[in-house]
Symmetry: C2
Subunit: 150 residues, 2 copies
């Protein structure tokens, strides 16, 4: 093999490995964008139809207060719309790793109240949301430190 | 420039970009390993000295019930040791993104109780833990779905 041919093989190998890692990084950004848009359509706009475009065939729900499946989310958004129409959730941080996107959120159901700190974990398949876990903690009136929960 | 020289330049460029992405991926794994070890030494072993090897110069605390700084963590571990010596926290999921590591945890303070779902977020600088946020929710007795909180 000539030096040029050897160099060509090396380029091909290095580029192949690079393209795979770069594709992974690009997919993480796509997943983040999809989840942020899904979250806003669902939780802030309370628009199930708009949110459902980001969802896969299943929506496995781990929040103990919400019914399973896409129908469970639909019912939850209807509840928000009726009981807390002015509720707002502000995304403070977005993380992605593999098939998962994690949101750190400040949720306020009634304007002027302290609200809750929430972490939502979403699993995606082919860029679509298929599973959800969360942990919710009301922000206490007093704290031992001055750093805030975010 | 000869074709060989051009190919050499291309190899160098592709390898450089690849090495940078691969180094990022390797650092994420190192960060995960460091945080999992830190968490076990601190929260399960309640050994501040062992845990402090994974900590940077600051430990900015956002948990509203814990005092700021490394001394705050030391006091919290002393509290756990005295009040809940049998407490155990099981890490269910570990995520990493940039300088952050996120843990999804099932914490049980007294054996036989349902315990809490927790998400901990740690920020690292140079592979050392320097900041902590968390959200804590007691696992309810009853849930609307059968999927569990994990």
């Amino acid at each position: 093999m000539t030096r040029t041919a050897l160099a060509f093989v090396a380029v091909t190998f290095a580029l192949g490995a690079h393209v795979a890692l770069a594709a992974d990084a690009a997919q993480l950004e796509i997943n983040k964008k999809n989840v942020v848009e899904f979250y806003d359509k669902a939780i802030n706009q309370k628009d199930f139809e708009a949110a459902s475009k980001y969802m896969g065939a299943r929506y496995t729900q781990h929040n103990p207060n919400a019914a399973d499946g896409p129908e469970g989310l639909k019912a939850f958004l209807q509840f928000l719309k009726e009981k807390f129409p002015a509720s707002r959730s502000e995304i403070k941080r977005v993380f992605a790793d593999g098939d998962y996107v994690i949101l750190h959120v400040h949720a306020v159901r009634e304007p002027g109240t302290r609200g809750s700190a929430i972490v939502d974990i979403f699993k995606l398949e082919n860029g679509k949301v298929v599973e959800h876990w969360d942990v919710v903690q009301p922000i206490p009136e007093k704290a031992v430190n001055t750093n805030g929960m975010f």
